[in-house]
């Protein structure tokens, strides 16, 4: 009985809440309070939660969860709910957890009441309870408990239960997103968890690695082989993450298998190894490329996963093969990809997109499966168009007739959008395969008599393009189209015909003037695009056939002069000046003919998937064809493989222990002889006691790689950890090339140091302990010396080769050092030498720039182009409050250029508060602000800031798209300081991504008053694409738009507050001048932006 009553109540409650919700959808919880007086029904929930009966509480919690699931606000129940966090009833407890995680952020103080319960649960003997406690604790987004979380994570990472360790790996990401300051400590935990051998942990920790420190490739070296071997047993979601990461890793560590004359035998791995080792003995020089055994290991161990039931795993392996496998081996993925096409619609969509990109580069591999891409009438439109795209890509001389026959069916489809796409596809086939051009053209002409307007229109447009590429005698077709002209109503098609008439008016000398006559009649009723082409046609005819058309042209120009559209008025004015000679129109008049009737280059009909291969396959960025937030660039292959010994593990247990087939382990070990320091015999020994052999080889002083490894370790142990990372690396790099004599004393030093170190890093020891536990017990036999050797191995976190890459980023390094680097035989360095010269804008660059760039080191290796893509650009820091005026409190701010978390119309600002005084400051918060309506999202009050301490807080300010400064007061307990933040105009933008076509379309809408432009003289150093985008991005937060022309650079953004589009276009002209154009409705912003942009581009 009672439950029925309850449900009735609930219904009423919901109705009331719905009313509340509707009125306050944007402000959510705050406005809800207004309605709480109406909202008495919640009262019974509160009573139920506070009752003594477990069942009533549970009932109440279930209703509360119901409310949450509907997106309704239940935050005011927080005190009543949080009391039940320690309940014995596990279901009740779980529901309380759900509630807590949802609302803790809003009710931070009350949430703290629950923390002790979790701390207790973290010590529970039941691993499940420990795990869940950590899960919830880390999900409560309350900054105050960061230290508690940190401690809990560290403890859980060492837990005996792999489940708890897995949970701690998840918690790392949560803590990192709550407080990025903890990065260093978290990386330590990640490093530790990466060594974990449990399949349960592997996926989660790699995920954490990807979120927190994807650039710390060095952490992977030691775990690479283990991960490869574990991969098959990891749960499927983890497999996806690990494979993506290993793809990136492999691209930095191995050399390209795609070179000419590379040798492999893909069909049987055994043959590969046999022939390989033989080859090495006789013709090491003759073979320019042999695959690194680790590279092979990755390919071999991922291959079975193509059979996974999880489509994401299959796609991930496919992209791995696409990006890493030798060309001959890629085709094994096609069958699996085609299989995925049987799956759900959404899966098909993504897979087809990827196949479309692949099929451009490698027609051959998908051709046998051509029929799988035949379109069914039941397919969704976007699936149809993708299939069409692939079929077009696959077309060649041999199969074109089959494909065209198939296309004929499609043209008749009821789905007109698809029929139109088919016509375009026919056009593409016609241009690509010259044999069928005429057939296609006549087929398209037939379509002109189709009843459907869109089909006809599309045909006209495609025919226009085809005629342009084929400037042979096609006057018949043009005449035919002229006849159709009266019946065609789609403006794009009409315009196309008019353009054709004008362009080839000499071929149809009689018809063209007649068409113009007809147009003169209907001119006023036409659409803009048709009018423009009419004016064009008139001008062209006037030049070629002025006798017949002079009056007509005059008439049309007069009509155009008074047209409503300023575009047409502009064009008319321009044309008149150009073609009609009068006293004012000077020199241009003479060239009118050459200007208007210049031979035009034919448009290229190419796939819209042409430039998608710049993105890693299978990624979100690839799917959207724009760079998604957090996209990790796939680097190019290094020209010379970095040292491969970094992946050697002291006891090579992982290979032995985890390899699925024990028989193969020997073989996978063997090719290590690729680094020619070991003879094959030694290699065998190494399997048993790798340490001793390694040591002996290093003492033979031929192994420079080994040497540098120990040296860099030397350096880093001498300097403090943080600062050493840069300098240590570079010096190790230069020392690597130093003479052998120098290495002698060093070695002595090393042996001296070894015993000391032995006692120092406990981490290294626990590591070797773990290895000792493995089934292969060689570790026990290793001598003291060998264990020190293993330490150096595990400790030198940077392989000697990576420093050279990283160095390139550290552009502020003195030149001298750059020179020393040249000795290092890294070919791609040449690409980089110009980079330091056009260093970032010499103005204030905080030290964070260097770290920013370091974060990009992966992508930086060779792909020079993408480095400066949006929102990761350099950051300028501005002073908010000087410590003199602030009585010790100083504040600096910068724009992190990230979307503001609090409200999308706000600009995110990060403020760094530093206490420079000798006493601690309390209650730092934001006070009054002006103008009064200013919408600021303040940071939470900082209770206490110790002397010399600093804290970074983020706030959001709605500048309403104006550069008017935001004034507010920064208050401490005692004082108030008026400060103001004045944003540079470029910071009021956020990047917007669009295709080139969209860009031109949008630009077309923003002409006239909305366009501001200036011609500038560029500094010569600034003319590269890299430099330009860097300069532009340093000024304003916009996104780069892919451009097909090398001389035009386009950027797009939106204003943060109103979302108005801002388009920046830089067109390079000869002799280092350039036209800088800004199109936006906000003309004031445009002029300010223009001014700001000019400066860095003009200066060197």
């Amino acid at each position: 009985m009672s439950t029925i009553a309850l449900y009735n109540d609930q219904g009423g409650a919901e109705a009331a809440m719905e009313a509340g919700q509707e009125n306050s959808s944007s402000t959510g919880g705050a406005a809800f309070g207004l309605f709480s007086s109406d909202f008495k029904k919640n009262e019974d929930l509160k009573e139920m939660l506070e009752s003594n009966k477990e069942s009533l509480k549970l009932e109440a919690m279930k209703r509360v969860v119901g409310l949450i699931s509907k997106g309704k606000n239940a935050s005011e129940l927080f005190p009543a709910v949080v009391k039940n966090v320690a309940s014995k009833n596990i279901e009740l407890k779980k529901l309380v957890y759900v509630y807590l995680v949802r609302y803790a952020e809003e009710q931070q103080d009350l949430a703290l009441l629950s923390i002790s319960t979790f701390q207790r649960a973290l010590k529970d003997p039941n691993q499940f309870i420990r795990g869940s406690a950590l899960r919830v604790l880390s999900s409560i987004r309350v900054p105050i408990i960061v230290p508690i979380m940190m401690l809990a994570i560290k403890e859980a990472a060492a837990d005996l239960s792999p489940y708890v360790r897995k949970t701690s790996a998840h918690a790392i990401q949560k803590l990192y997103s709550l407080d990025p300051e903890q990065k260093e400590q978290l990386i330590e935990v990640i490093e530790k968890l990466l060594k974990d051998k449990s399949t349960l942990v592997a996926g989660s920790v790699v995920m954490a690695f990807e979120e927190v420190c994807p650039d710390r490739i060095d952490l992977i070296h030691k775990n690479y082989r283990k991960l490869c071997n574990l991969l098959v047993d990891v749960e499927e979601w983890g497999q996806v993450v690990i494979i993506s990461m290993l793809t990136r890793y492999a691209r930095t560590q191995f050399t390209s298998p795609w070179k000419e004359g590379a040798t492999f035998d893909e069909n049987n791995d055994k043959a590969f190894y046999d022939s390989d080792s033989e080859d090495k003995r006789d013709t090491t020089e003759a073979k320019p490329y042999t695959m690194d055994p680790d590279h092979r290991l990755l390919l071999r161990n991922t291959k079975p996963l193509l059979q996974s039931r999880n489509t994401a795993v299959v796609m991930c392996v496919a992209q791995l093969y696409w990006h890493l496998a030798p060309t001959q081996e890629v085709n094994i993925i096609t069958k699996s990809l085609v299989r995925l096409l049987r799956s759900h619609r959404e899966v098909q969509y993504i897979v087809l997109q990827n196949i479309a990109t692949m099929s451009i580069q490698r027609k051959g591999i998908f051709e046998p499966y051509m029929k799988s891409f035949y379109v069914r009438s039941t397919d969704a439109t976007h699936i149809k168009t993708l299939k069409l795209e692939i079929l077009t890509n696959l077309a060649n001389e041999a199969n074109i007739s089959t494909i065209l026959r198939e296309f004929q069916t499609y043209v008749k489809s009821q789905d007109k959008a698809f029929a139109a796409a088919t016509i375009q596809a026919i056009g593409r086939c016609a241009t690509n395969i010259t044999d069928v051009t005429d057939t296609c053209l006549s087929g398209l002409v037939l379509l002109l008599s189709n009843r459907d307007e869109t089909v006809v229109a599309e045909s006209v447009v495609v025919i226009k393009k085809l005629l342009q590429t084929q400037p042979t005698q096609h006057s018949e077709i043009i005449k035919h189209m002229a006849k159709l002209f009266d019946n065609i109503t789609v403006s794009m098609a009409r315009a196309s015909i008019l353009w054709l008439m004008g362009e080839y008016c000499d071929r149809v000398p009689k018809i063209a003037p007649d068409v113009l006559r007809k147009m003169a009649k209907t001119f006023t009723a036409e659409e803009d695009i048709v009018k423009l082409q009419t004016v064009n046609l008139a001008a062209k005819l006037y030049l070629t056939n002025s006798k017949q058309t002079k009056l007509l042209t005059q008439y049309i120009l007069n009509l155009g002069k008074y047209d409503q559209s300023y575009d047409i008025r502009d064009r008319t004015r321009f044309i008149r000046q150009l073609i009609v000679p009068n006293e004012k129109s000077g020199a241009l008049n003479k060239y009118a003919r050459r200007i208007l009737l210049a031979p035009k280059p034919a448009p290229v009909l190419e796939s819209s998937f042409k430039d998608r291969d710049r993105f890693q396959l299978g990624t979100l960025s690839h799917s959207l064809n724009t760079k998604a937030a957090g996209y990790q660039e796939l680097s190019d292959w290094p020209a010379v493989a970095p040292d491969q010994s970094v992946r050697n593990v002291e006891v090579i247990e992982p290979v032995q222990e985890w390899a699925p087939s024990v028989g193969k382990t020997k073989k996978s070990g063997k090719p290590k002889s690729a680094d020619k320091f070991y003879s094959d015999d030694e290699e065998e020994k190494k399997e048993e006691g790798s340490e001793s052999s390694k040591d002996s080889s290093s003492s033979s002083s031929s192994s420079s790689s080994e040497e540098s490894g120990s040296e860099s370790e030397e350096e880093s142990s001498e300097e403090s950890e943080k600062t050493s990372s840069d300098s240590g690396k570079s010096s190790s790099g230069s020392e690597k090339s130093s003479s052998e004599s120098e290495s002698e004393p060093k070695k002595k030093k090393k042996t001296k140091k070894a015993p000391q170190k032995k006692s120092k890093p406990p981490a290294a020891f626990s590591d070797s302990d773990e290895n000792g536990n493995g089934p292969v017990a060689q570790a026990s036999s290793s001598s003291a010396e060998s264990s020190s050797g293993s330490e150096t191995d595990s400790e030198d976190s940077d392989p000697p080769a990576t420093p050279q890459k990283k160095k390139k980023d550290v552009k502020s390094k003195p030149k001298a050092e750059v020179k020393s680097k040249v000795e290092v035989p890294l070919l791609d360095l040449v690409d980089f030498s110009p980079a330091p010269t056009n260093a970032p804008p010499s103005s204030v660059i905080s030290s964070s720039l260097i770290s920013d760039l370091e974060g990009l080191s992966l992508s930086n290796i060779t792909s020079t182009m993408q480095v400066t893509t949006p929102s990761f650009g350099p950051v300028k820091t501005y002073e908010l409050l000087h410590h003199m005026t602030g009585k010790g409190l100083s504040a600096k701010y910068h724009f992190p250029r990230q979307p503001c978390l609090y409200e999308p119309s706000m600009v995110a600002v990060q403020v760094i508060l530093t206490n420079g005084s000798d006493h601690s400051l309390e209650e730092i918060h934001i006070g009054e602000r002006s103008p009064a309506g200013l919408n600021i999202h303040c940071f939470n009050t900082i209770e206490r800031l110790e002397p010399e301490a600093s804290v970074t807080v983020s706030m959001g300010i709605d500048f309403s798209d104006s550069t008017q400064a935001a004034h507010f007061q920064l208050c401490t307990k005692e004082d108030q300081f008026s400060v103001s933040i004045q944003p540079a105009v470029g910071e009021l933008l956020m990047p917007s991504s669009m295709t080139e076509q969209d860009y031109s379309k949008e630009q077309g809408k923003l002409l006239g008053m909305n366009e501001t432009s200036a011609t500038i003289t560029m500094a010569t150093a600034n003319t590269s694409r890299l430099a330009i985008s860097k300069q532009v991005l340093s000024v304003c937060n916009v996104g780069e738009v892919p451009s097909s022309q090398n001389t035009v650079h386009r950027f797009a953004g939106r204003t943060v507050s109103s979302g108005a589009l801002v388009l920046v276009c830089l067109e390079l002209k000869e002799s280092s001048t350039a036209l800088l154009t800004i199109n936006t409705e906000k003309s004031v912003m445009a002029s300010m932006l223009l001014r700001d942009l000019k400066q860095p581009l003009v200066q060197a």
Partner: protein, 425 residues
């Protein structure tokens, strides 16, 4: 990874939301609605939609959109696959995955979603593990729970989670030990206009066979099964449930596995394309519109072709007629037909094909007055079932069990269906 999930019904209401990180306002779905408006059909909504700060990845199942909110780069298939897994789980738990079922079980749904993702990363998606964590709601259990106050939520870490066979729960006990395997094959085909021609290759544009083996295993303890085929060479491309030992398949073409408890899909496969695909039915059709007249003729006859003596059942013919068609006045020789004047969808539920008396559907269609003759002819989609036969000829040789002492009851069933079977006219 996955930030939030919104469930949207066909009328555009968000009826459930769940957040794994900080709350994302439901206004983000406006971008989805915008895309939905632009799409003419529900299926045409693009699966990936970019918005200024987020990315929306959606799947459509059972007329519910499952919209996941993403904030940064993640493989889109990862999210899509996960969403489908969510739907499968709901279906597994509630029997159906409808708005009503989800709303009725909102607490279980929430508990499930909580377990399936942690901070947006999949945690437990294996049905056997989930069922140990959260017991599926049954009427009996709900009643017992309300009386005794016990709960649906497990208190221990699921045993599978830590074992080497995470897909199987331990301590399984049955009084009747049984293992059933269904071999289901589907024919995907596009048949050209001359669908009734005697030369099969000429009229078949493309035809291929895809198959799955679905299993229902209820066996006590930790059984280790092997399943072998008479003709494993037929299988061209396979994908396995994680329980199948890949090495064994590579070497011996034997499926060796410790099965999960309950229903699961053991294997899906593609039959190598060298083998000619037997097309079980033929279609004689004559659909025509005369120029200038507002009438059209519709004439369709079905007949069995290569069925190896088995009867063709549950035949359903559907066809999207041209937009100009107003009504269809048809006369079926058997079964019933419906014509939806709004969607112009003609469906004819034929039932079983009797080779002696071939089913046919004849009559006229009337066009909108003044409408011109449609350019295109509608294509015909056919569904059918043939029991006790796998059209590729695949046969299971034997099923053996190791590791347990009892003798299980084993059963194997074959079936052939039409997959995407389309006849162009």
């Amino acid at each position: 990874m996955i930030h939030s999930l919104f469930l949207i019904n066909s009328s555009g209401d968000i009826f459930l939301e769940k957040h794994w990180k900080s709350v994302v306002s439901r206004s983000v779905c406006d971008y989805f609605f915008e895309a939905q408006e632009r799409a003419t059909e529900p299926e045409n909504v693009p699966p990936v939609i970019p918005t200024p700060h987020h990315y929306l990845i959606s799947v459509l199942r059972h007329r519910i959109y499952f919209v996941a909110v993403i904030q940064s780069e993640v493989p889109p298939l990862f999210v899509i696959e996960f969403l489908h897994r969510v739907v499968d789980t709901f279906q597994d738990y509630f029997g159906v995955c409808t708005e009503a079922a989800i709303k009725d079980n909102v607490v279980v749904v929430y508990e499930l979603l909580e377990e399936m993702l942690d901070n947006g990363f999949p945690l437990a998606t294996e049905s056997n593990i989930l069922k140990e964590l959260i017991k599926p709601p049954t009427i009996l259990r709900t009643m017992v729970n309300t009386i005794t106050g016990s709960t649906n939520v497990g208190e221990q870490l699921p045993t599978g989670q830590l074992s080497v066979v995470p897909w199987r729960r331990t301590g399984v006990k049955y009084t009747n030990n049984e293992a059933y395997f269904d071999v289901v094959e589907e024919i995907d085909a596009i048949i050209d206009k001359s669908g009734y021609g005697s030369e099969q290759t000429r009229s078949t544009i493309t035809a291929e066979i895809q198959g799955v083996i679905d299993a229902c295993v209820k066996l006590t303890g930790m059984p280790d099964l092997t399943l072998s085929f008479m003709n494993p060479r037929l299988l061209d491309d396979v994908s396995f449930h994680p329980c199948v030992r890949f090495k064994r398949w590579e070497a011996e073409r034997i499926l060796s596995f410790i099965p999960p408890d309950g229903n699961f899909r053991l294997l899906s496969y593609h039959v190598s394309s060298q083998n000619l695909v037997a097309i079980p039915v033929y279609v004689k059709h004559n659909i025509s519109f005369r120029e200038g007249s507002s009438q059209g003729r519709f004439d369709l006859t079905l007949g069995p072709k290569q069925t190896m003596g088995k009867s063709v059942e549950a035949v359903l013919v559907s066809s999207q007629l041209p937009r100009g068609v107003l009504t269809a006045n048809l006369n079926p020789s058997q079964g019933t037909y419906t014509f939806d004047p709004v969607t112009k969808m003609l469906t004819w539920d034929v039932g079983k094909i009797n080779p002696q008396k071939l089913p046919s559907l004849k009559g006229t269609m009337s066009l909108q007055a003044g409408a011109s003759k449609p350019d295109e002819n509608p294509s015909i989609n056919i569904q059918l079932k043939i029991q006790q036969m796998a059209i590729s000829g695949l046969k299971v040789n034997r099923l053996d069990m190791y590791g347990e002492k009892y003798k299980p009851f084993k059963g194997i069933k074959y079936m052939t269906k039409a997959g995407k079977f389309q006849v162009r006219t």
